[in-house]
């Protein structure tokens, strides 16, 4: 179906050939339906490991299709695929993110298969297959070019994760975390919808491309600026909650602590990254083009606000973590600081000198996924061995489980941003990008917060090496979790040794004009 017809039709059917492009999403939904039925049919007493493996299979199949699409993208001219009048786009931006989401979720599922026990989580089947709609929601967010699909994806992701956080039914902490997450998530949705409604009211459109066009026309008049400020600030606050940027992050430590560790990892990675992706798409499509309009400070102010949020997240995240004694709360605050780093490529301006914002973003996201999944996997086996999640559980880990301790060192070095790890180059690329855009103050804050963060990251290493084992609990590393830990450790180091090819590959498959900007039909 040609693009020209599409705009004029009031009803846009989804043809079969179009639907084929959605294969990755269909597969996940199909797997979920099958697994729901299977979970019902399986006898109550039998283990639910098979559902875990099937969930993994579904994720990997979907991942295979996405990779196929990305490899196709340089071949034909018909990319990007614009479905339903640009509400759903299959482009490199979305697809590269989908690769990251699906790989991260696959790693999380694999690590859960060994560590999740029925005494802890009564509904193990649900635990696994609810991850499928959650990641589908994240994929919708990455692909959508319209506020409606975007919001539907966001809620699909949010509602399933509310359930997942509270899935340890018999744990008070889990219930408390889930409740807080629902309430904060509700605030976030309210702010977002409120902000979006202003935008719709001002432009009469929900499609990001159409909104941009309308704003460019009306922008000359200049009398809608105040309302636009309100709209964008409301949306920023809404997304700020989802990505856990200060001062909207307070829910994170409580919720991360209450959730089962694999779900904590999922929140820290997929939820955060999906919200960042949407923010990326909106700011670059709607806010950035306004920078050319006369008499409009709006664009530069919004980008400045994003950088301010980033700076606040880095400072608050690292300083609050200094006094933290609980491993998962520490990771939550580390996640706040990392949200700040990931906001920088969105917030620094995009200009002739500096055009690789997306490459920097993707690279750091990949490194962030690897080091976080790995660290959470280690935390889950260590806390299982010691029976609590305090940092002192790591005491003397090197003498009890030297290999696990070695892998943890890799993750901690990467989190702290030291060579030779993916985290180092991720931060370096973002730092160089910010320096090229002459946003030196954010560079300074990045460096200072990194240095402060050494203190608590090295606290973990100190526990592992320099303290005698407080309790001599044997650390039992299930094979599946071990595979995840080592895969993450090796890849983290690999990203640190050969960062060039990875970022080169992203830049090669990604064209900002083709893949991020939504052109008028």
């Amino acid at each position: 179906m040609s693009v020209d017809n599409m705009a004029q039709q009031s009803f846009l059917p989804l043809t079969w050939s179009d639907a084929m492009y959605l294969a990755p999403e269909w597969i996940l939904i199909a797997f979920m339906i099958v697994l729901v039925v299977l979970d019902l049919a399986l006898p109550r007493r039998s283990g639910r490991k098979v559902i875990g493996w099937l969930t993994l299979a579904g994720l990997l199949t979907s991942l295979g299709f996405v990779i196929g699409q990305v490899l196709d993208m340089n071949a034909g001219t018909e990319w990007p695929i614009r479905l339903l009048g640009d509400s759903y786009r299959i482009d490199a931006f979305g697809s590269l993110l989908k690769i990251l989401f699906l790989s991260a979720t696959a790693l999380i599922v694999l690590m859960s298969i060994g560590t999740v026990k029925r005494e802890d989580i009564p509904d193990k089947g649900e635990f696994y297959y609810l991850l499928l709609p959650a990641v589908t929601g994240a994929m919708m967010m990455a692909s959508s070019g319209d506020m409606i699909t975007l919001y539907v994806g966001l809620e699909l992701l949010s509602i399933t994760t509310y359930v997942l956080v509270g899935i340890r039914k018999h744990s008070v902490k889990s219930a408390e975390g889930a409740f807080k997450y629902v309430v904060t998530g509700g605030i976030s949705s309210a702010l977002l919808l409120f902000g979006m409604s202003y935008l719709y009211g001002l432009t009469g459109a929900t499609n990001l491309g159409a909104i941009k066009d309308a704003l460019l026309v009306q922008g000359a008049a200049g009398d809608i600026q105040e309302l636009l400020y309100v709209s964008f600030f409301l949306m920023l606050a809404g997304f700020g909650i989802k990505i856990g940027a200060a001062p909207f992050h307070f829910w994170a430590p409580d919720v991360y602590q209450g959730a089962p560790t694999p779900i904590t990892a999922f929140l820290a990675i997929v939820s955060k990254a999906a919200a960042l992706a949407v923010l990326f798409r909106i700011t670059f499509n709607v806010v950035f083009p306004l920078s050319n309009a006369t008499d409009m400070y709006l664009s530069q102010d919004i980008f400045l606000t994003i950088l301010v949020l980033a700076a606040a997240a880095m400072i608050v995240g690292t300083t609050s973590a200094l006094r933290q004694r609980n491993a998962k709360r520490l990771m939550a605050l580390s996640g706040v600081a990392n949200a700040g780093y990931l906001l920088v490529p969105i917030g620094v301006s995009f200009k002739g000198l500096h055009m690789q914002n997306v490459g920097e973003f993707m690279f750091y996201l990949a490194a962030y996924i690897l080091m976080n999944v790995g660290a959470f996997a280690v935390i889950s086996v260590v806390s299982k061995a010691t029976g609590h999640e305090e940092l002192k559980g790591f005491a003397g880990l090197y003498y009890r489980a030297p290999w696990t301790a070695a892998a943890m060192i890799v993750f901690v070095l990467s989190l702290a941003g030291l060579p030779v790890t993916g985290g180092f180059f991720g931060k370096l690329f973002i730092l160089l990008g910010a320096a090229q855009s002459q946003a030196y103050w954010i560079v300074a804050i990045m460096v200072v917060s990194s240095v402060i963060s050494y203190y608590f990251y090295f606290g973990i290493i100190r526990q592992m090496f320099m303290r005698g084992g407080g309790d001599e609990a044997e650390v039992d590393m299930p094979a599946t979790t071990g595979v995840v830990v080592w895969l993450c450790a090796v890849l983290t180091v690999a990203l640190g040794i050969v960062p060039g090819p990875v970022i080169g590959w992203v830049n090669e498959h990604f064209s900002i004009i083709r893949d991020l900007f939504i052109m008028s039909p």
Binding site: T184, I187, F233, A237, I241, P247, T319, L322, G500
Partner: protein
């Protein structure tokens, strides 16, 4: 010519690396693993290195370079790669041969040591680093491996860390060589700054400095060359940074043979040879290299005469011979320097391993407590004798030919340095005959029944003895194979004809004869000189008081400076740091107080944050 194996030269260092990883991972559980794994890896490297060397002997073989881009930061590109030239191919073979023989030898020498697998792990790591250093195709990669070999040397010198002397020696070795490394690092930074396109690879360096187009100013060229030489001085134990090498003899003897005689200390010479184009572009730098080398050669040789510890004598001999190599390079003879490096690696490793065999048998290192070992340790005595003759420059052993090549060059370029070289050669022959006769001739002193060691220790001695005899023939007055091959046919040695040969052989024989007269025949009293000039003996025994001088000037001086700096650090820097730290803690405490677990508080903060953002950022536009 088509090359087959050269493309795979990058595999050569990887065998020892694999051995290191294997030994570190599983060494604790399998005691006997070290010898097998270490030797197998060295053997694999040696075979591949030999194949590469044979391939390079063919007609018209081009230098081979390959690698990949490691980091591309738009303006700066960092590559990791390897380059095989004739020089590096030769070095690969030297390193792998000595490494293999030392691996075998250590099976006997270190047999009763608790941490033998750790020892083999370190040797493997060292071999990997040294081969990486040789193959590196750019200065940065070379520097990384340069530091790595330094670390391995530190670990191995301090291997018996229970001994306080070993700990002190390891520390000294590390710190003194660091001084040189700092020079090298500055040289690399200067190169990075001044080279077109910030290129650091040897091919580009060669092109830029060879053309003499003035791309890089003459003053800067000299500065870079001298700073590189500072690095080489540190690593190769040249005056005035030679003080660490004799102390490094606290390490196990196989290590002294491998690291502190044959390979790592020669890395300085290799570095100068590798960047020879930079040196050739600056006459001043060449002169400095030549004079420092010549001075070191005679300076260390005279100290060697008055030492009593068998390994220390050999250590000073190494310093002196490295000085010869530097002198040759400084006089413009790449072939002479590398030729001597090549022959020296074998006969000096032989001497150290032989000394190890002696120490193993009599459990002392003082040569005055030994004697008459010749009849009991036949293999050791014979092989050691061959090594000593080679070192003394007696024809037709290898040391004669390489020393002859250097003296020939010196006679043509600078007769003063020729004289220095000849005198140093005399002292060399003298201290070696003193050492040999005191240890192997005369009457036995120890009560212990000394005897030859097991075959694992004698076999490497025999192989090295053969090499010490034959390796000299690759470059003789009637056969310029090595020179043509190394320099592409532009360089000739041995042009002096018979005169130099006669002088060189004569001083060697004279030195040995004098030693024989003093220590066997007794015609000349042993204290003939020392009784008349006791101050001279003391001066030589105390190694010209260089260590004491450094102690006073640098150690004390630095300690004073350190106190001053520490005071500054405590009050000013620390104050600032404490302020920053305090601020961070305060902020964190504030954040924790807001984190009170009440979800309604979180909601309020969220809204407050939103309002503050709007007021602060949007508000300023509308006021």
């Amino acid at each position: 010519m088509e090359t087959v194996f050269t493309q795979y030269a990058w595999l050569i260092p990887l065998f020892p690396l694999a051995a290191f990883i294997l030994l570190t991972s599983f060494g604790r559980s399998f005691k006997g693993l070290g010898v097998m794994v270490g030797s197998a890896a060295s053997l694999a490297s040696l075979v591949l290195a030999l194949l590469v060397l044979f391939e390079r002997m063919g007609e018209g073989v081009e230098d081979y370079q390959d690698g990949f881009k490691w980091l591309d930061l738009s303006t700066i590109q960092l590559n990791i790669g390897f380059e095989v030239t004739n020089l590096s191919a030769l070095m690969l073979v030297i390193v792998t041969i000595v490494s293999l023989l030392v691996n075998v030898y250590s099976a006997g020498y270190m047999k009763s040591d608790e941490r033998i697998t750790v020892f083999y792990g370190y040797i493997a790591l060292f071999t990997f680093s040294m081969l990486g250093l040789v193959l590196a195709d750019n200065m940065l990669a070379l520097y990384i491996f340069w530091e790595l070999v330094g670390v391995c040397s530190f670990l191995l010198v301090g291997f018996w860390y229970q001994k306080p002397e070993a700990r002190a020696a390891a520390k000294k070795a590390f710190i003194v060589t660091r001084i040189g490394d700092a020079g090298l690092l500055i040289a690399i930074l200067l190169l990075f700054w001044y080279m077109p396109n910030h290129a650091l690879d040897f091919v580009n360096i060669q092109n830029v400095f060879n053309e003499q187009t003035g791309t890089i100013a003459a003053g800067i060229t000299t500065l870079i060359a001298l700073l590189i030489f500072v690095g080489a001085v540190g690593k190769s134990g040249q005056f005035p940074l030679h003080v660490w090498l004799p102390d490094a003899m606290e390490g196990p003897t196989p290590i002294s043979a491998l690291i502190h005689a044959a390979t790592m200390v020669a890395a300085g010479v290799y570095l100068v040879a590798r960047t020879f184009d930079i040196f050739q572009a600056s006459q001043a730098a060449m002169d400095v290299v030549a004079y420092v080398g010549a001075f070191t050669a005679i300076f260390a040789a005279t100290i060697g005469v008055a030492q009593n510890d068998i390994k220390r004598i050999l250590a000073f001999s190494t310093v002196s011979q490295l000085g010869y190599m530097m002198m040759a390079l400084g006089l413009g003879s790449l072939t002479g320097g590398i030729f001597h490096l090549f022959t020296h690696a074998f006969f000096k490793a032989l001497l150290f391993l032989g000394a190890g065999s002696v120490i193993h048998a009599v459990h002392t290192q003082n040569i005055h407590e030994m004697g008459g070992l010749g009849s009991r340790m036949r293999i050791t005595a014979w092989t050691f004798g061959i090594g000593a003759l080679a070192l003394s420059g007696i024809p037709p052993l290898s040391g004669f030919w390489s020393k002859d090549a250097i003296l020939n060059t010196a006679l043509h370029e600078n007769p003063v340095l020729f004289g220095v070289g000849v005198v140093a050669a005399f002292f060399t022959a003298f201290y070696m005959s003193r050492l040999f006769f005191l240890v192997f001739a005369g009457r036995p002193k120890g009560e212990k029944q000394a005897h030859d060691s097991s075959w694992t220790m004698t076999l490497p001695l025999i192989i090295l003895a053969v090499l010490a005899v034959v390796t000299g023939f690759v470059e003789t007055p009637w056969n310029n194979t090595l020179g043509t091959w190394l320099s592409g046919g532009t360089e000739t040695t041995h042009t002096g004809g018979g005169l130099v040969m006669v002088i060189s052989a004569a001083v060697g024989v004279l030195g040995i004869y004098l030693g024989w007269l003093m220590y066997v025949k007794g015609t000349i009293a042993r204290d003939a000189v020392s009784s008349r000039m006791p101050w001279l003996l003391r001066l030589l025994e105390r190694k010209y008081y260089i260590d004491e001088l450094y102690q006073v000037v640098f150690v004390r001086g630095l300690r004073g400076l350190g106190l001053l700096l520490q005071a500054m650090d405590d009050f000013i820097i620390d104050g600032i740091v404490r302020c920053v730290g305090g601020a961070a803690v305060l902020l964190g405490r504030g954040g924790t107080r807001l984190q009170n677990g009440q979800v309604q508080t979180y909601g309020v903060i969220t809204l407050l944050g939103l309002v503050i953002l709007i007021v602060a950022i949007a508000g300023r536009r509308f006021w």
